[in-house]
């Protein structure tokens, strides 16, 4: 027996930790804290992101209006005097502008509010969109001519910003588009109850407005465009994706070709989305000559993009159906096709639907490829939803836009009020995404089976 070297370490107590243990334990706690901090930072980032968007965007759902009586004098709005909307349409919005301005001035006089501003400066407090609104009202209902109506008039973007705290007296000093005197007058009107800031349905339903009238810009056309594209994606991507997955999962022999397809699909899922935009531009627009920025082209590009997602989800849920189901069907005399279409596919359906909804949600938020196929166009008019002619918006025509692209176009405009609009549009987008994901989660909870 060899001599064991006698330990030269100092005597240790069993109750007090030695320096090394203390160090190691401290390192342990530190490491753990790093982990917690990392999770915390992630969640904090999410919260800051949401708070920033909500803080900037929630106010776009409220809008400032001023109400005063307007006399729709016949000689101005209906010079021919026959109350025919077709003839009255010839009076443009410029014809309505003086009407509004004088009515506003008269209202101030009647209320006994003193101001040294001219008519022009007073009219500048109202939205440039206001004459168009009154005109639309008159054309829709010619009986109003000659009457005095009590209308709620949209106020200009800067005045609106004043009531939302975005514009202050100091910033107005430096702003060419608004003067402190206008803000003071707006405050006086508000104190008398003539100005109201209320929920703004127009933000969700109205079409876009030009760069100088952010207060009138809305998301209606963008929502319709997004809706049509999602329809195209759903109609194309779901059947094609399911068919491809069934083939690859159930029928495909193991050979070079199917290997190639599999590698292909997993790579396509990671190709940058902008590359799909280039594909759409080159193939669908330059080669096949579809209309630029039509929902059809947008939908096709998004379909190609979502297909890998749907295929991967579908294959996973097909794989989750236990082989015993297939064997039982085959044992009772069903053919392979019958066993799959009658038994496996219905059992996999909840998983497929969930995957499809998540793919759709991804497609709904996608922006970059749509920019390349020309969806940045400024769309002022509501599309004629019933039109079947191929050159107007619903499916094949140009002049469509989509929710995320609308956000992008608004960020490119100079008026700071559009930042509020863009954030508001993102809130709408996020609400749609949230709903889709909730539906997916509910579907999974309700129908998913564990084998």
């Amino acid at each position: 027996m060899t001599d064991m070297p006698i330990s030269t370490a100092p005597k240790r107590s069993l109750f007090a930790a030695d320096a090394r243990t203390v160090r190691r334990n401290r390192a342990e706690r530190r490491f753990r804290a790093y982990g917690m901090a990392a999770v915390g930072v992630g969640i904090l980032a999410l919260i800051v992101l949401l708070v920033s968007i909500l803080g900037n965007g929630l106010s776009s759902f409220r809008q400032t209006y001023v109400s005063f009586p307007i006399e729709l004098t016949a000689e101005r709005v209906d010079p021919d005097g026959n109350r025919d909307p077709g003839e009255m349409a010839r009076v443009t919005t410029f014809g309505y502008l003086p009407l509004l301005a004088t009515a506003f001035e008269a209202h101030l006089d009647a209320e006994g509010i003193e101001t040294d501003m001219g008519v022009r400066e007073l009219a500048a407090m109202l939205s440039e969109e206001a004459p168009a609104q009154i005109r639309g009202m008159v054309l829709a209902n010619p009986d109003l001519v000659g009457q005095t109506i009590d209308a709620q008039i949209l106020m200009g973007g800067r005045i609106d910003g004043f009531f939302k705290g975005r514009v202050t007296m100091e910033s107005a000093e430096r702003d060419r588009n608004v003067t402190p005197a206008q803000l003071e007058l707006a405050q006086i009107l508000a104190d008398r109850g003539a100005v109201e800031t209320r929920f703004n349905w127009d933000f969700i339903t109205a079409p876009d407005a030009s760069g100088s009238r952010p207060e009138a810009a809305g998301l209606g056309v963008a929502i319709i465009g997004s809706f049509y594209m999602m329809l195209v994606v759903l109609v194309l991507a779901l059947p094609i994706g399911v068919a491809a997955s069934i083939y690859l999962e159930e029928f495909a022999p193991k050979n070079r070709l199917t290997d190639l397809i599999e590698v292909n699909i997993s790579n396509l899922a990671a190709v940058p989305s902008i590359v799909f935009g280039i594909l759409g531009l080159a193939v669908f627009i330059n080669f096949m000559e579809f209309n630029q920025s039509s929902p059809l082209v947008g939908g096709l590009v998004l379909t190609l993009m979502t297909l890998p997602t749907i295929i991967i989800a579908t294959r996973a849920s097909l794989r989750a159906v236990p082989p015993s189901i297939r064997q039982a069907a085959l044992g009772l005399g069903a053919s392979k096709t019958q066993s799959i279409f009658h038994h496996v596919l219905p059992l996999a359906a909840p998983g497929i639907l969930t995957g499809t909804i998540i793919g759709l949600a991804q497609a709904l938020g996608e922006t970059a490829p749509l920019l390349l196929i020309g969806m940045v166009a400024f769309v002022r008019e509501y599309p004629d939803l019933m039109s079947v002619h191929s050159n107007s918006f619903p499916l094949m025509g140009d002049g469509a836009t989509a929710l995320p692209v609308q956000v992008y176009s608004w960020t490119q405009r100079s008026d700071p009020a559009f930042v509020e609009r863009a954030s508001g549009a993102i809130i709408v987008l996020l609400v749609f995404l949230l709903c889709m994901n909730l539906i997916a989660i509910l579907l999974r909870r309700r129908f998913e089976r564990r084998w």
Binding site: A38, V39, L268, A270, I278, L307, I311, A368, G374, N391
Partner: protein, 483 residues
């Protein structure tokens, strides 16, 4: 178009009923004698009616415009083409005029006879404008003539297409109907056809890839014919100008892309990795069930949202609290802005992939380490992470490929100036920003300034594809180790 489809579908439905009836009748009403279930006989007839007809319809619809374009373009007198800007522009004009006349006829402004008798003297532009169709320019006799023959050929093409499609549908229906009897192996036939459709669908993935590669290769080739490839790949200047003489060097864009991606990874990798370690090794089930979905929400948020976040919150904040006080610049869009926001976006990519990989490390390795007296963090650092390293590298590479291909964050957060600079608070630009920049707005697809976008796209595609394949290879290789 619509009514062709409706009629075809009606024919298909008719075929179903007829086929089923004939099969049952041939068995004397006793379905047990039939080879297949009666449904299959009906479906067989329907498929034979619809599939060939629809295929021909689809091919015809795609081929007809191309063929007609070729013919019309060949008919244009060369002398006239030489005067106009280019043949492509001329063809666009012709197509627009033909479409315009068609629209006018459709809206009832012209009757068919009037549309055929149009001559240049009639001031067609005004007439069409009255019918609600706006033309870009006045109409020349050559264009009018070409447009008229365009209309004529399209009309004839449509007629022949209708005839061919219906003939094929009826022939298919008749053939399948006559072949139907009780011994026909209808189920097998239908299943073959279904299998064919399934196969076709699965090749679409390959077609997409081929389409991507071909479309970009084609235009990249055109680009390199106009602009030397050495100057593109090694050029240090990016200065496109639409009067010509552009400097279109890739290096500054690539530098911006890599710099931003690097900062993004600098943010995402430590946070994502530590979050993954915490959730896999330390977190209780309850914490995990709350924290993991919350972090993964970050992955579900569209990139435009991150872009806006960079533009309105992070950018101004970095400028006011870091860049301006430090004297490093006063631009709110900067490499740092885009990098940090992109890093936030990438956290869930790194964390959830790493989480899976860490969870896949066998418990026995940990138990062995604990048995030797290691603390939990020592086990993670010295046993779990080395075992999971290849997978984590794969995850980081995937995140890097995301970062390089990301568009909206850099479009809104990084700026547009192409610059070779080290200062992270300076605005720089990336490959994706320039693709968007060169291809939006009115673009002339014969100029190098527009075509360069395709070369950029191809570069991007090759880089990300390489990263992806490498990453997938590493991840897959690693997974096999513990299975």
């Amino acid at each position: 178009m619509l009514w062709i489809l409706i009629t075809l579908l009606a024919l298909g439905a008719l075929g179903f009923v007829l086929g089923r009836q004939r099969a049952v009748a041939s068995a004397g009403g006793d379905a047990r004698i039939l080879h297949s279930l009666p449904v299959y006989y009906g479906t067989n007839v329907t498929l034979l009616t619809l599939v060939p007809a629809l295929l021909v319809l689809g091919v015809w619809l795609m081929a007809q415009p191309i063929v007609i374009d070729r013919v019309i373009s060949a008919q244009l007198p060369d002398s006239y083409v030489a005067e106009a800007a280019s043949r492509d522009l001329l063809m666009t004009e012709i197509r627009r005029l033909a479409d315009g006349i068609d629209t006018a006829v459709e809206r009832g402004a012209f009757n068919g006879r009037h549309a055929l008798d149009l001559s240049v003297g009639d001031d067609i532009r005004q007439q069409l404008a009255d019918a609600g169709v706006a033309l870009g320019a006045d109409v020349s006799p050559e264009v009018l003539q070409a447009a008229q023959s365009f209309r004529e050929m399209s009309g004839a093409g449509r007629t022949w297409m209708t005839v061919a499609v219906f003939a094929l549908a009826v022939a298919g229906l008749a053939y399948a109907y006559l072949r139907t009897n009780k011994d026909l192996r209808a189920r097998n036939r239908v299943e073959y056809m279904i299998l064919g459709v399934l196969m076709l669908a699965s090749t679409l993935a390959i077609l997409t890839t081929v389409g991507i590669v071909l479309s970009m290769l084609w235009d990249t080739r055109n680009f390199f014919q106009l602009y030397p490839w050495q100057d593109f790949f090694f050029g240090l200047e990016w200065r496109p100008s639409f009067e010509g003489n552009s400097e279109l060097g890739l290096i500054p864009l690539l530098w911006g892309t890599l710099y931003i991606s690097f900062i993004a990874l600098l943010v995402a990798v430590p946070i994502g990795l530590f979050a993954a370690i915490f959730m896999a090794e330390y977190a209780t089930k309850r914490v995990r069930s709350v924290a993991k979905p919350l972090i993964e929400v970050l992955a579900g948020i569209p990139t435009i949202v991150y872009g806006l976040f960079a533009l309105i919150t992070v950018g101004p904040m970095l400028r006011d609290y870091f860049a301006a006080p430090l004297g490093l610049g006063n631009s709110s869009s900067s490499v740092m802005t885009a990098g940090i926001v992109m890093g936030i976006m990438l956290i869930p990519f790194v964390s959830s992939l790493s989480d899976d990989i860490i969870n896949a490390v066998p418990q026995s390795l940990r138990d062995g380490s604990y048995g030797l007296g290691a603390t939990q963090s020592e086990t993670v650092k010295q046993v779990v992470l080395p075992a999971a390293l290849p997978g984590i590298v794969g995850a980081v590479l995937l995140a890097a490929s995301r970062a390089i291909g990301e568009t909206m964050i850099v479009v809104l957060g990084a700026g547009a100036a192409a610059r070779l600079d080290l200062n992270p608070f300076e605005a720089m630009t990336t490959v994706t920003v320039k693709i968007v920049g060169q291809l939006t707005g009115d673009t002339d697809f014969s100029s190098p300034e527009a075509l360069v976008a395709f070369a950029l796209g191809l570069t991007l595609f090759v880089i990300t594809l390489g990263l992806n394949i490498f990453a997938l290879y590493i991840v897959r290789k690693y997974r096999e180790q513990y299975e």
